[in-house]
């Protein structure tokens, strides 16, 4: 009951309404479009704001308590990527390349989804741990690196198997193939770490850490006051792009559509519970769950198109942007919020119980 009410309330927030408005605009084939420069600028702005907030809060709270959540997040993200791969490959019957590309898209994080989550929490009057911004930055390349590594291993294995069966084959060609996979991985590492998303995020975390609350007051109006407004403008663009892609949903197939809904739900709820267990706050657990539930649709094509060009981009972009993103921000966020509230309540009562028993003994 509570979940339904929260979803209903969430539907009527500006962010979601503007997103739906964008979809409608695209469906009626309007020529409405956010100018390219602005739609490129907004993700940078959002990441800058997230980074600054993260940096400031890390200055207040310190680094120590960040380590465990970060290690846990990396571990879970890798496990989930492997899990996605098995499901896609075995149950979905996708080929090796599509499976790894999709697995890593869903293992990676979405910065836009993260921004929407922050503003959802703000709306609910709940705060979250600032260091989650740092986890966002670290998680961004992790699952891609693993998926690309595993893809290259699998390809190299196939090449080696072929080499053994045709011993008189052109060896130099095969060695070249092996070499290529090696250089590919280092390129991807370099590309994803120097990519604009991570650079702006980490840069702003450092700046936020240096300037602190005091230094922030002079730029607060831009990076705090305008945050939700900027998301709203970006949501029009996201809605338009998602709306244009709705036709492609038929090509994606029923299996991937259900995967794009069930997987984030599973990942997100597990994320919320794990985060609660390692001591994150109510809001922090929601954001932690959202990190694991979200799929990457801006960074993913840029990385995967180079690293796994054999994978069909229409599959991973359409499912991440057309299904998972709207599902996450409209339905899953309220669900995770309720799960987190319940989990924190339960834990609170256990703590209380311990406290009382301790008092008695």
């Amino acid at each position: 009951m509570e979940i339904l009410q929260l979803i209903q309330a969430n539907l009527l927030t500006p962010i979601i309404l503007f997103f739906l408005f964008g979809i409608i605009a695209a469906r009626i084939k309007s020529d409405l479009k956010i100018p390219e420069a602005i739609s490129e600028f907004l993700p940078i702005y959002l990441l800058a704001a997230i980074g600054l907030h993260g940096g400031i809060e890390m200055r207040n709270a310190g680094f120590e308590n960040m380590l465990i959540p970060m290690v846990v997040a990396i571990g879970i993200s890798l496990l989930f990527t492997l899990n996605h791969y098995q499901i896609l490959r075995r149950l979905g019957k996708f080929n090796l390349f599509d499976s790894y590309a999709l697995a890593s898209t869903y293992g990676a994080v979405g910065a836009v989804t993260f921004s929407v989550g922050l503003s959802f929490l703000k709306n609910q009057g709940v705060t979250s741990e600032g260091y989650l911004a740092a986890i966002l930055a670290v998680l961004e390349p992790v699952s891609f690196i693993m998926a690309i590594f595993l893809t290259n291993m699998a390809v190299a294995k196939q090449i080696r198997a072929k080499k053994q069966s045709f011993t008189n084959d052109d060896v130099s060609d095969i060695e070249m193939g092996l070499q290529e996979t090696k250089t590919k991985l280092s390129q991807v590492l370099h590309e994803s770490i120097t990519g604009k998303a991570i650079v702006i995020l980490l840069g702003c975390i450092v700046i936020g850490y240096i300037i602190g609350e005091e230094g922030f007051t002079s730029i607060k109006i831009v990076f705090d006051g305008m945050f939700t407004g900027a998301i709203v403008i970006f949501m029009i663009e996201m809605g338009i792009i998602a709306g244009q892609r709705l036709d492609d949903l038929k090509k994606v197939g029923i299996f991937l559509i259900s995967f794009a809904i069930i997987m984030p739900t599973f990942n997100g709820v597990i994320g919320v519970l794990v985060a609660t267990a390692i001591g994150l706050s109510l809001g922090g657990a929601v954001m932690f769950g959202l990190l694991l539930a979200s799929a990457s649709f801006i960074a993913a094509p840029a990385i995967l198109r180079h690293a796994i060009p054999e994978a069909k981009p229409s599959l991973y972009i359409t499912s991440a942007l057309g299904i998972t993103f709207p599902y996450n921000i409209i339905i899953l966020l309220p669900i995770m919020f309720v799960v987190s509230s319940i989990a924190h309540d339960v834990e609170g009562s256990i703590d209380l119980f311990n406290y009382i028993t301790q008092d008695w003994t």
Partner: protein, 100 residues
């Protein structure tokens, strides 16, 4: 004025494939090229909507004939299967042939 015959290779491809093309050119010691962002429709659907990543790019390279077939061969072998890409070759005349 005397014009010297060289080849113009034009490649229209998705923007994320531009890097691959330029790497291939580098491998064959060609450093000069011109690119511009374009939109269009083709076998892989309408290109140029949505994110910048999904735009197309047109790469023009002027080169001598002797390098042409190697480069075209490498582009076709490594990229035709996986990328939205079209290439064509035309004859052009240049004044300063030593530049290419």
């Amino acid at each position: 004025m005397k014009f010297y015959n060289v080849k113009l290779l034009t490649v229209t491809c998705e923007i994320l494939a531009q890097k691959n093309i330029i790497e291939i050119l580098k491998k064959h010691e060609i450093t000069g090229y011109t690119t511009y962002e374009v939109e269009g429709n083709g076998a892989r659907g309408l290109r140029g909507q949505g994110f910048k990543n999904e735009k197309n790019v047109k790469v023009e390279i002027i080169m001598r004939e002797d390098k042409l077939s190697d480069i075209v061969e490498e582009i076709s072998r490594t990229m035709f299967a996986n990328f939205a890409i079209v290439l064509y070759v035309s004859d052009v005349g240049v004044v300063r042939t030593e530049k290419f």
